[in-house]
């Protein structure tokens, strides 16, 4: 036995994306996000990722408030990402009870952000989230929600980020994002083979079989999905059962069936 492969649900709160119901702009929407988080927790999700706060001040406050409320009632690891541009903001989120922050465009613009977060809070608290797409036979880093190409090689960037202190890499394939064609095995492998920290694959999952294929075909440590879980096209137990049947180690259903035991 070894560490279980993780199934991660992403609460994607980017304005204008498919997952409109959990886009959060005010306190009422935080309630919605908490509802989803609670459901995933009850279903036995291994981890939660909350994306994407905005760089603006009031939405950052919302993110901190959300993180604090999640930490009040859910006792599983969670990450907050999107728009984090300073170690101070990262610290504010981590102090509420979040386990990690994910940095993306901000780190591409200023790679010392990774070093600053890792030095202050530890590598384990700093996830590099890299959005990438195919370009002339390589994988190119794109920023600002996948819209702006940077000319940087994603494998080289992930390697540099890990050297700077990132403790985990989230690989989001823009080529697969929203396509339901399955995870991007090629891109995930290229990065997972280049770094020695855990790697999370994201983008394209639509079935439990996609998770099985991911863990059979790449060294990824975790698979992440958003909208398919939101719309119940697929549930966390579906994925775990399929992985278990395929002989892939997962945290089993019995481990989370009991109540959280308040009092």
């Amino acid at each position: 036995m070894s560490v279980a492969k993780r199934v991660i649900a992403c609460l994607d709160i980017r304005a204008g994306k498919v997952v409109k119901s959990v886009r959060f702009v005010d306190t009422k929407d935080i309630g919605d996000a908490i509802e989803f988080a609670r459901r995933y927790n009850d279903e036995g999700v291994d981890e939660l990722l909350f994306l994407d706060i905005n760089a603006s001040h009031e939405r950052r406050r919302t993110a901190v408030e959300l993180a604090a409320r999640v930490a009040d009632e859910l006792f599983i690891p969670f990450t907050v990402g999107g728009g984090i541009a300073s170690a101070d903001v990262a610290g504010e989120i981590l102090r509420t009870g979040a386990d990690k922050v994910a940095v993306n465009s901000g780190a591409v613009r200023d790679p010392s952000l990774i070093t600053a977060i890792a030095e202050r809070y530890g590598s384990q608290a700093c996830v590099l989230s890299v959005d990438a797409k195919r370009s002339d036979g390589t994988f190119e880093v794109v920023v600002d929600g996948g819209r702006v190409p940077t000319g940087r090689d994603a494998v080289a960037w992930a390697t540099e980020a890990v050297r700077r202190g990132a403790g985990e890499v989230l690989v989001n394939s823009i080529d697969r994002d929203g396509t339901k064609l399955g995870f991007d095995l090629e891109m995930t492998s290229a990065i997972a083979e280049a770094v020695d920290v855990p790697v999370i694959a994201s983008g394209g999952a639509s079935s439990a079989e996609d998770f099985v294929t991911l863990f059979r075909g790449t060294p990824a440590d975790a698979g992440l999905a958003a909208s398919i879980f939101h719309y119940r096209e697929l549930t966390i137990p579906d994925v775990k059962r399929a992985l278990d049947r395929a002989g892939i180690a997962v945290r089993p259903a019995e481990a989370f069936r009991s109540s959280q035991g308040r009092g």
Partner: protein
Amino acid sequence: MIAIADYGVGNLASVRKAFHAVGHEADLVRDTRRLRDARAVVLPGVGHFGHCSREFHRYDLGPAILDARARGVPILGICVGMQLLFEGSEEAADAPGLGLLAGRVRRMRGVPRLPQIGWNEVAVGGSHPWLVAADGWYYFVHSYAAEPEAGVTLGTTDYAGERAAIVGSDGILGVQFHPEKSGPAGLRLLRGFAEAVA
């Protein structure tokens, strides 16, 4: 009162909230004099051993913890907080541990990924009056692991080899994983500790 030694490290809030969720109040305590009133002391920690050790000593927690130990106040160490109870760590040779548990902390070698991040299965092999943990899945985040001397290990996990997951001796309990982030299994462990030391 259960006192969570507050030396500014990451998982303080989560540990307090987890005790609260199982019906036990735990206070973050920075003033070492207040540790004298505690019925149990929790030593949290996450991240770099050297950083944690420096902060720990900067707040002068060493003598307070040793004093608590001498007075028989139960101590629970979590992750790097548990590692601090050992003699020292390869992660920071110049930063000493408390030496309350026999053994040292070393980098995990021959492992697929570092840090180990995720849920791993723990097999409990020893007993301890405050340990109410069944075998189960717990959340780990670490690159270094304690290599305790004989008799200190109470539970193990497998990450490219057997690793100490639960350790203890008379008056001390320590866990490498994060019970405050291990769902119902972790909450049961914290509740068990809180009730046993009440």
